[in-house]
Each structure stands twice: as structure tokens, then as C-alpha cells.
């Protein structure tokens, strides 16, 4: 039995008729054509598919689109505001926090959540927060530096305000 869902993704509300077994990541990529969210493992392990649902970073390959009915979703495409990169995005840019880039959307979404909860994390806290995100290229060191850089950017921004 098909089901109609209404989901607000990056500020735009969508209504679609879906099969209950449609995964949130398929809804985002194949129905809404937002292909910034990646599918790495399909088995809940790699974190490439991480998006925010009602402010919580989740692996969208392990959630049904139907579970997101009525929710607000932010994907990597919705992070930059007014043409300006999110501090985590510019941190990854400046510190070379990526090589092939496959893991990057998920890494950035998870990092944004880490900093939202803990504006001043230690390296160890960043690594603990990113345990659910695998990167086969960077060796993680530059990712941790990128997140530290983002933390500084966000702090100086909030002081300036």
C-alpha cells in the first residue's frame, strides 16, 4: 500500500506518494534528485549517507522515508547559507579534509552535529563523534584538523555577533 509523505528538505516542503520500503536515502537521491548524499556501504556502517532529520544526524540508509513523514531534513546541499559555505565546509576546504570526496558529505553532516553539541571539542572527542563515518583516503588526520578549524571559525563568528 502506497503512502503519502510530506517532508521539508533544505527548506522546501515536498509531498510524494511512496512505497513504505523506500529508504530515506533513496527518497533524497532518486525522488528529490539531491545526489550530494552518498551511498557507500548500504549497511549502516560507513556514514556516507548521513543527513540531519529534525536536527539529529542519522544514517539515511537505515531509515525509511515514511519515518521522516512530517520531519525537517537537512542534506549537504542545504548547509551553505546565502552562497556562503558552512564553517565545516570551509574547514574541509582549507585543511584538505578530503581526497576522493566520497565520504565528505557524510563527514561534514556528522561534524556539524559534533560542533553543534560541543563547540570546543578535543581531537579525541571529534574522533569519537566520527566513529560512524569511514574514510578510505585521508587517514582522518586532516578531517580532525578541518573540524578544529571549523570550531574556531564558528566561535569567532559567534563572538563577532
Amino acid at each position: 500500500m502506497k503512502k503519502t509523505i510530506s517532508v521539508t528538505v533544505n527548506g522546501v516542503t515536498h509531498q510524494n506518494e511512496i512505497e513504505p520500503r523506500l529508504l530515506l536515502v533513496q527518497y533524497i537521491r532518486d525522488v528529490l534528485n539531491l545526489t550530494g548524499t552518498h551511498v557507500g556501504c548500504e549497511t549502516s556502517l560507513c556514514g556516507a549517507c548521513t543527513v540531519m532529520v529534525d536536527g539529529q544526524a542519522v544514517k539515511s540508509c537505515t531509515m525509511l522515508a515514511a519515518q521522516a513523514d512530517g520531519s525537517t531534513v537537512t542534506t549537504i546541499e542545504g548547509l551553505a547559507q546565502g552562497g556562503e559555505l558552512h564553517p565545516v565546509q570551509s574547514g574541509f576546504w582549507e585543511h584538505h579534509g578530503l581526497q576522493c570526496g566520497y565520504c565528505t558529505p557524510g563527514m561534514i553532516m556528522a561534524s556539524a552535529q559534533i560542533l553543534q553539541r560541543n563547540p570546543d571539542p578535543t581531537d579525541e572527542e571529534i574522533r569519537h563523534g566520527l566513529e560512524g563515518n569511514l574514510c578510505r583516503c585521508t587517514g582522518y588526520q586532516n578531517i580532525v584538523q578541518a573540524v578544529q578549524c571549523a570550531a574556531k571559525k564558528m566561535k569567532s563568528k559567534s563572538v563577532a555577533r
Partner: protein, 287 residues
Amino acid sequence: MIPASFDYIAAKSLDEAISLLATHKDDAKILAGGHSLLPAMKLRLMQPKVLIDLGRIKELSYIKEEAGQLRIGAMTTHFQVETSDLLRRVCPLLPETATQLGDMQVRNKGTIGGSVAHSDPAADWPAAILALDAEIVATSARGDRVIKATSFFVEMLTTALEPGEILREIRIPGGKGKSGQAYVKVRHPASGFAVVGVAVNLAADGGKCQSAGVGITGVSPKAYRAANVESGLKGNALDAKTLSAAAAHAADGVDINSDLYASAEYRKQLATVYTRRALEIAASRLK
């Protein structure tokens, strides 16, 4: 990886979920965080015809003190347990367990009730629930039923929940006197699940151990209370020699799991060493 087709119903209240489960019976599965169920459905290890989602039932998500107990609603996420100020103060074992479970995204979505109902032999919660001598409240059209944690975990992926029952709440008895708790874990490097996980809840008075709860997961097809470890502690001064002698009984009388990552012999050794470490940490925290 796409699950087989099913119907999806988002229950609006616990009563509605109970009556939906009574209608659809064995065809239906409860959906909590979906972080054990959906992976199994994607692999088609499970093919329920109907999913009854508890995700919108706000009344199932809480952590509170009531009637001298701590009460945790089934749909409380691992993250909510991890960050609860109340629990950090009165039952730090639970946040310490939560923070070692899975990863941040899994903790954001997975629930304590879902994990306990699922009863994975390598899950973390069962160890803590056993060490704390918790009770599990199951509810159905017939009303509530309270089940002791020690009789809840029946075998691998099997609990004392009966058809038509929903796990509603977990109750933890209030502590008496000085207590010291700890959870230590050997994480499987790929899955994050417990190769061995040991939860300890000690109470002491006048330097002597008054009560000891030791729950162990990962070692055996179901999590268990290490009775011989506990009896080696009770009534004794908690010095290094006592702790180490008691820990030697960590895997007494249980079938020990063996897999590619850890043979039964190695697991047994890990269980002994990690039980000793957990006891040492818990004893050092007695206050």
C-alpha cells in the same frame, strides 16, 4: 539492498500500537529506531508484512524518578541516555554504556527499548540492565506485566516478551548506600558491537561489599549475570586480591561464543581480564 514489501502504520499512541499488534499478530513487527530491524529487513533475514512504528509516540520517551525507581521509556534514544543529567548523577553506568554503543548516528536513532527487545548477544544494554537488577515492563491488551531482567533474556534474539506485548518501560531500583559503577567493553573493530562487555554495579558499607551486580554481554548467546563473581565479592573488603579472584569466575557455567574474530578460549580470557578491570574501576568509584 531493499527490504521486501510491507505495510507501514505510524501508531499515534501506545493504545493504538497495542491494538494494531493485536490485529496483525505475527504478521507485524514493532519499529522503534529501526537500527537492528531495518538492516535485517534489507538482508531479507526478516520480512514482516506490517511495520507498526512507535516513532511518533512521545509518551514512550522519558527518563524520570518515580516510586524510588528510575524509569526509562522504551523509545528513549541511546543519545538521550548518554546525555541525561539525571542519569549522570544517580546512575552513571547507563550514560557510560550509551557512549560506548555504536556510533553517534546510531545513538541518535536507536532506542534502549528496541535494543533490549531485540536481545542481540553482543548488545551493550543487556549487561547494564542485568547489573542494575532492572525490571522490564511489557504491556498488551491484557495490561502491564513486570519481568525481572534476569528472566527477560531467554536466548539469542529471544526474550520473555510474549506475542502481542510491547516493551513499555525499563525500571531500575534506587541505589542504597555508597555505589560504584563501571562499563568496559572490547569493541569489535568493524561492527562496534561488544566482543566482551562487562557492567558492574557495587554497593559498599564500612569498607565491605554489600551488594554486587555484574552483567556480561558478548561472551555467551545471551547476556548473563555472573553469579560466581558476585558471590566472591559480597561481604568482602574490595581489595585487589578479592577483585581479581572474583573476576576469574566471569565465564563460569556459560556456553562461550566463538567466531572468526575471537575463539571461545580468547573470549573467556577477555571476559576474565575485563571483568577484573570493570571491578577495579567500579571499586575506585565507590563514594
